[in-house]
Amino acid sequence: MSNPNIKIDENTKTPIGSHKAIKGQSPFQLAFTRFRKNKGALIGLIILTLITLISIAAPILIQVDPSATDLYNTSAEPSSEKWLGTNDAGQDVFARLIYGGRISLLIGFATMMLTVLIGGTLGALAGYFGKWVDMVIMRLTDVLLTLPTLLMVLFLVALLERTNEWILIIALGCTAWASTARIIRSEFLSLREREFVLGAKAIGANDFYIIARHMIPNVLAPLIVAATLLVANMILVESALSFLGMGVPPTTPTWGNMLNEALNMRVIEEQPWLWVPPGIMVVLTVLCINFIGDGLRDAFDTKSTRR
């Protein structure tokens, strides 16, 4: 008779309201359920998945070498054979468009991961330990935030005197982590004061155990949202860099360096098939990712549960 309310639960088989319906759902599963109801985000996810799959499968889908030049067939108009014509080096624009997605998406996702790794770690350390650790890391982010990422990368690329996608990824990752670090730090600052962290300490857990097991899972929601939007941002930065001719060298097609060809006034006016498709792809991809990011933010935001 020591626990009357629990016993009633058992006998009447009516445990606390809709308990059965939401059984075992983690906050992430709940968020996913909400995400699925968001049409814009879902469409964005579908289109992005398609673009990603097509890009990955490019060597299977496209038999033409995107870098092969055909000097007898330069600046050709779109035809049934060359769907988007050729550029002034006689390269197949459609093949370049499909292959270009590989590099753009690779740079977007790889940079995001690197950024999240660096920014997440530094932000977590700063927020958890505070004091001088916080001081040092935050001054570093302040410095990075005052310098535009694009300029920093341009500077790094100029310094190295050469570029490829991996150099770009590292350069972008090392310069773009500041905002992620700030987000994670501020989340950690408030999490640190939560009672369950004190509780974990009272259990005898050490600092790194608490960070890894108790705190990081709690910042995953804002981290995922920030990371998603970072992918979009990084794709744009890559396009801008390649457009300026400081990104991936033109031998490897990317959406950015395809746009680079539109630097020519004649191309803009007379050969829209050279620059409109990569432009659309960049806009479409970034738009999809932003929709997904917004959807994730709404899904994770517990205040929107009451909708």
Binding site: S2, N3, P4, N5, I6, K7, D9, E10, P15, I16, H19, I22, K23, G24, Q25, S26, P27, F28, G130, K131, R194, E195, F196, L198, G199, A200, K201, A202, I203, G204, A205, N206, Y209, R213, H214, P217, N218, L220
Partner: protein, 337 residues
């Protein structure tokens, strides 16, 4: 003595460094807990009772520091232990339950993950063994659907259920001392009684000592063997529970007991002690309670009373009891000064 002392605190002084300088929140507190005993630490908000418990656990906020004193637990002075040694004591020999069951569980981990945590950290159990033990513990604290609850998340449980989970977590490692910081304050009254009953049951089953921190004299009456009353960082009275309620000696304790609503006595308005607690950074010369005390005379604001002994270990920090046994409130006290 047959009653072995599990924890002895001697002259503990804990201070916070703030922008206004060092603020002492626990001032020369001495107390002890015997094995299998429940000691209640009573006082209003901000009197330093929680800080005393966090000092024991060495979990003070970053700007807090133990300035002086010793905390002897199982013949080790906890104040002198390194962080690493201390983390072997925490959640192993001493476990803690917090006030707010809503926030003291991690929202993104399952109940099972959290209950097995202490077992996996301190006992060299396999995941399977830890899980079995966790299920047994959940059953012990009153969950009939223990196996399912293991896979659930805190948001799926009510406040009372979460506090049961907290208790199961704390007891999982079979600690010799359980510190319960206002374990029932955030719960409604009917659940309170159940939780207290559960703690009492487990205490007897596991032979645990309990340091119960509370401002609720009802809880004290229900649970405590002995009581330490704190006011503004100091111990003002210490007695076994029975004598405290029968013969409350310090004017502050008398005030506390008077301010508990009673069904037996017809009252127009509930009694409240006049005035407010002094701010911790206020420098006081005499008795800290003097400004609020109806029985204070001039000596009280000039000199600090020490703890005076009465019978059976009953101690009171008040000049009224300076002459020892038999003295009680009398106006002639003024002539002694």
């Amino acid at each position: 003595m047959i009653d072995e002392k599990l924890l002895i605190i001697n002259d503990l002084k804990t201070a916070f460094s703030t922008s206004m300088g060092s603020v002492t929140v626990v001032d020369d507190v001495s107390l002890y807990i015997k094995k299998k005993e429940t000691l209640a630490l009573v006082g209003e908000s901000g009197c330093g009772k929680s800080m005393t418990s966090l000092s024991i656990m060495q979990l003070l906020p970053v700007n807090g520091k133990i300035m002086n004193g010793e905390i002897i637990f199982n013949n080790h002075n906890l104040v002198e232990l390194s962080d690493k040694e201390m983390s072997k004591v925490r959640g192993n020999d001493i476990a803690m339950i917090f006030q707010e069951p809503m926030t003291s569980l991690n929202p993104v981990l399952t109940i099972g993950d959290q209950i097995t945590e202490g077992l996996l950290l301190h006992r060299k159990l396999s995941k399977k063994e830890a899980k079995d033990r966790a299920v047994a513990l959940l059953k012990l604290v009153g969950f009939s659907r223990a196996v399912e609850v293991m896979k659930e998340y805190p948001h799926q449980l009510s406040g009372g259920m979460r506090q049961r989970v907290m208790i199961a977590m704390a007891m999982s490692v079979d600690p010799s001392l359980l510190i319960a910081d206002e374990p029932t304050t955030a719960l409604d009254v009917t659940i309170q009684a159940q939780i207290l009953e559960l703690m009492q049951e487990l205490k007897e089953k596991f032979d645990t000592s309990i340091l119960l921190i509370t401002h609720d004299l009802g809880v004290v009456a229900e649970m405590a063997d002995r009581v330490v009353v704190m006011y503004a960082g100091e111990v003002v009275e210490e007695a076994d529970a029975l004598s405290l309620f029968e013969d409350p000696s310090h004017p502050y304790t008398q005030g506390l007991i008077k301010s508990v609503p009673s069904l037996d006595v017809q009252q127009e308005r509930l009694y409240s002690i006049p005035g407010t607690v002094p701010a911790p950074n206020e420098v006081t010369v005499g008795c800290r309670f003097a400004p609020r005390c109806a029985q204070a005379w001039e000596r009280c604001s000039k000199e600090k009373p020490s703890l005076y002994q009465r019978k059976n270990g009953h101690q009171v920090r008040c000049f009224l009891y300076e002459l020892g046994e038999g003295t009680n409130y009398n106006e002639s006290g003024a002539t002694h000064s």
